[in-house]
C-alpha cells in the first residue's frame, strides 16, 4: 500500500466511522430527531455498524486501522513504524471531517436543541442542578462529539479505557490467525463490528468507551471550533484520558500477543 492510499483510506474510513458514530449519538440525543431516546442498545449497535461500514469501505485502500491505538499495536507487533505518522494523520483528519459532517446532517437538530432548552423543572427537576453543574464542565451537546465519564476519576477512567482497548486490540491482532489463508477478510469486518458492539454494551458504562484516541480528540477539536450557540465547554481537562488510555491498552495488548500468540 502506498502512503497516499493509506492516507486517503484512513481519512475516508475514519470520516465514515465518526459520521455514523457521532451520528447515532446525535440521533438519540437531540431534539426533533426521529430516533430521540432510542436508548443505549441503539447507540452501541450504531457505533458497531459505523465500524462495519468504515472498515468495509476503507479496507481495500489502507487496511482500515481507523484507530491510532490499532496502528500502534500493529507497529509493535510487526516492528515496523514507518507508516505510523501517515495512519495517525489520516485518522485525525478523518475524525474531524466526520464530526463536521454530523453537524451538517443534524444542523437543524443542533439548532433546535441548543436554542430551545427546557429550563424549568419537569419530571426530572430534582436533577437540574446536577445536570447544570455537569454541563458547565462538558457542554450540553459535547456527548455527540466526545466521551465523558460518569464518575470523574482519572485513575479509574484510565483503567476502564485501558481494559476496553485491550479487548479490542487482541481481537484485531488475532484476526490474522483466524483468517490466514481462507480469504475471510470481509467476515473480519463484520466480526470486528460486533466485537465493538460487545465492548460498548459491556465496558461502555463508566466512560462511554472511546477506545480510540482519534475518535475522541478529533470531534472534540471540532466541537471547540464549530459556531454552535450555547454549546458550553469542550471539557479539555478530560481530553487526555481517552487518548492515553487507548494507547496504553494497545501497547499492553501487543505485548500479550507477542508473548502468548506469536
Amino acid at each position: 500500500m502506498s502512503s497516499s492510499d493509506i492516507f486517503i483510506g484512513e481519512t475516508i474510513g475514519t470520516a465514515i466511522l465518526i459520521l455514523l458514530g457521532g451520528g447515532v449519538c446525535a440521533a438519540v440525543t437531540l431534539k426533533a430527531s426521529k430516533a430521540r431516546n432510542a436508548g443505549w442498545l441503539a447507540i452501541t449497535f450504531g457505533w458497531g455498524f459505523a465500524v462495519l461500514t468504515a472498515v468495509y469501505t476503507s479496507a481495500p485502500l489502507s487496511g482500515a486501522h481507523l484507530n491510532p491505538a490499532v496502528t500502534l499495536a500493529l507497529a509493535i507487533k510487526d516492528g515496523d513504524w514507518s507508516h505510523v505518522p501517515v495512519y495517525w494523520g489520516g485518522q485525525l483528519l478523518g475524525a474531524m471531517i466526520g464530526a463536521t459532517l454530523v453537524w451538517v446532517a443534524y444542523y437543524g437538530q443542533f439548532h433546535a436543541h441548543l436554542t430551545d432548552r427546557e429550563i424549568v423543572g419537569g419530571p426530572g427537576a430534582q436533577d437540574t442542578k446536577a445536570v447544570e453543574a455537569q454541563e458547565a464542565q462538558a457542554g450540553p451537546v459535547l456527548g455527540v462529539f466526545s466521551t465523558g465519564p460518569e464518575i470523574r476519576n482519572a485513575v479509574l477512567n484510565l483503567a476502564t479505557e485501558i481494559i476496553g482497548t485491550i479487548v479490542l486490540v487482541l481481537a484485531v491482532l488475532t484476526q490474522g490467525l483466524n483468517d490466514k489463508g481462507n480469504g475471510l477478510g470481509t467476515l473480519g469486518a463484520l466480526i470486528t463490528a460486533f466485537v465493538v458492539v460487545g465492548i460498548g454494551l459491556s465496558l461502555g458504562g463508566p466512560t462511554g468507551y472511546a477506545i480510540n484516541p482519534a475518535r475522541d480528540l478529533g470531534p472534540r477539536i471540532v466541537h471547540a471550533l464549530l459556531p454552535l450557540p450555547n454549546k458550553g465547554g469542550s471539557d479539555w481537562g478530560y481530553a487526555w484520558v481517552p487518548v492515553v488510555g487507548p494507547l496504553v491498552g494497545a501497547a499492553i495488548a501487543a505485548g500479550i500477543y507477542n508473548v502468548a500468540f506469536a
Copy 2:
C-alpha cells in the same frame, strides 16, 4: 443478465424491500398491531433485514440494485448506461407493488387506525395542534409509505439525504474490491443490510433516511391512489427531496470512488 431477468429481478426484489420496509413501519405505527410502539431500533433493523431478504432473493436475477441511486452510481463507475431504464422501471414498479402488499397485509390495521382515532387530549394533548398541523400536510399514515422531515427545510433535508446516500453507495461500490475472487457475494448481502441499519440509526433522525428514490416515490404514489379513509395528504411538496437527494449523493459517491479507489 438479460433485460427481462433484470426487470423481473428488480421488480421482485424492490417489492420485497418495500413490503418488509413499509411493513415494519405499519407494524410499529398502526393500531391493533402486535408490534405497536416497538421503537426506532425495530424500524431500523426491520429495514435492514428487508434489504437482506430483497438483495438475497433478487441477486441471482438482476444483481439486486433495488435503488435508482445505486443504479446511477454503477452506471457512472462503469460508464455503461444501457440498462439504466430497465433497472429504474423495475424498481419503481416493484416499490409500488410492495406498498400495495403492505396495505393488503395490514388491511385491518389500517382500517382500525384511520376510523377510530383519538381526538381528545391524552397524555400528549398539548401536542395535538402540532400533530394536526403536520397531518394536514402529511396524512396520518403517510409515514407507513414515505419519508418526511422532522424539521422542514429543503436545503438541510437535501444535505442529510445526500450524506446518507454517499455512505450507502461507497459501501456498495467497494463491495467489488472486498469480494474480488473469494465468492463472498452472499456475505455482501448481509453486510449491506447492516450498513443500512447503521445509516438508519445514525443518519435517519432528521428525514427518515429515504436514500433511495424508488423507496419513497413508489409508495407515495400508492398512498395517493389507495382508497384509505381519512388518509390525508401525500405531501407532494416534499416528494422531490428524497428523489433528488439520493441521486445527487450517488453521483458524488461515484466521483469519490473513481478518484480514490479506482
Copy 3:
C-alpha cells in the same frame, strides 16, 4: 439422506425451533421470568436465533426444512414428493416435543402465572373486559404455544400469513442459486435466521407470523393436552388459518420461483 436421518433430523431440529421460539414467548410473557416485558424486538430476535440454532443443528441430517411449507415448496420445485410424509411427520412430532420442553423449562413460571393472576383493575383496568373476552376464546398462556390474530377475520388473516410465507419461501428457494458451488451453506443458516427476524418485525403485527403449519399446530395440540391450571381454550376455531395460509403461500412462492428463477 436416508428416511431415518430425515425423520430424526427434522424431529430434533423442529424440537429446538419450538423450544427456543416458544421459550422466548414464555420468557417475555410469564410472571417470575427475568425477561418479562422485554418487548417485540426480543421476541423477533428470539425466533430468529431459534431458526439459526435449529437449522444449524439439523442441517447435516435432514437439510433442515423444519417447516411443512418449505417441504411443500421444495417438492413442487423439484417434482419429488417421495419424502414429504417423512418430513411432515418429523416436523409435527418435533414441534410437539419442543412445546413440551418449554413447559418443563418454564414449569414454575407457568404455575406462578396461572395461579396468581391480577383480577382487579390496575393501570390497564379499562381493558379488563376486552382481555377477558379474548382469553375466554384463547387461553391466557396460549400465546406461548400458538399464534392468534389481533383482528379476527379469516380472509385478512389468511392473506397476511400467505404474504409472509411467500417471502420466507422465496428466500429459501433462492438460497440454492446464491450458494451454488461456494460452500456457503452455513452462512445460509444465518441469513435465513435474519430473514425470519425481518418477517417477524415487518409482517408479524396482524397475526403473529406462524408462516409454518407445524410451528402452530404442534404446540396447539400440546396446549390442549397439558395439565395446566386455568389454561383456558386452545382457540381451535383459528387453528386452520396458520396451517392453510402457509401452505398456500408456499405453493405460490414455488410457482413464482419456477416461472421467474428456474
Copy 4:
C-alpha cells in the same frame, strides 16, 4: 495443540468471556453507568458478543471451549479425556480473572451502588420486603457475578439449566459437521455467539442461563473474596445447580450426538 497453549488460550478466552459477560451485567445494573436499565436485550446481546470476542481471540490457541461443559461433551464424543484437566483449570482461572477485571473496570460504579442505596419506598416500595429477603440470601450485586433463580426450586432450576446446555452443546458439536472442509471456522464463532443470544432470550428467564460451570463458579468465588462494602451473601446454597446442571446437559447432548449424528 500443546498443553501450555491450551491453558493460556482457555485462560485468556474465558477471562474475556467473563469480563464482557459480567461487564454487561454491571453496565445494566449498577448506578452511575451509562447503560443502566438498558434491559434484557442488552444483556443477552452483551453475553453473545462476549462469546464472539472470546472464541475469536482464543480459538487459534486452544480451540476455544471456554466452558467445562463443552470440554466434557467433546471428551465424551471423541473418547479422549487427556486434556480435560488443563481445559478446566484454564477455564476456572480465566473466569476468576475476568470477574476481577469487571470489578476494576466498574470500581467507581460498584462503590456508588453499594454505599448509596435507596432504603425508603419509592414507586416499587411494595416490593421492598421481598427484595430485602432475596438480597439477604443473594447479595445486591451478586447478579453481576453469578446467576440465580427467579423461583428457587432445585429440580426445576436443574431442568432449565440442563435443557439450555443441551441446545448449546448440540450446536457446538454439529459445528464440525457443518464446517467440514470449507474453512468456515471463523463463521462458527459468529454462529455460536448468536446461538448463545438465542438461548439467553428463550431459556434465560427462569435461572439466568449459566449453561457453563466456570461462568458461574469462578465469579462467585471472586464475589466471596472481593472487599466490596455491603456486598451481602454469595448464595452458596445455589452454587451447585449451575455446575451440575450444565455438566449433565453436556453429557446428555453428547449422547444424543453419538446416537443420532455420528
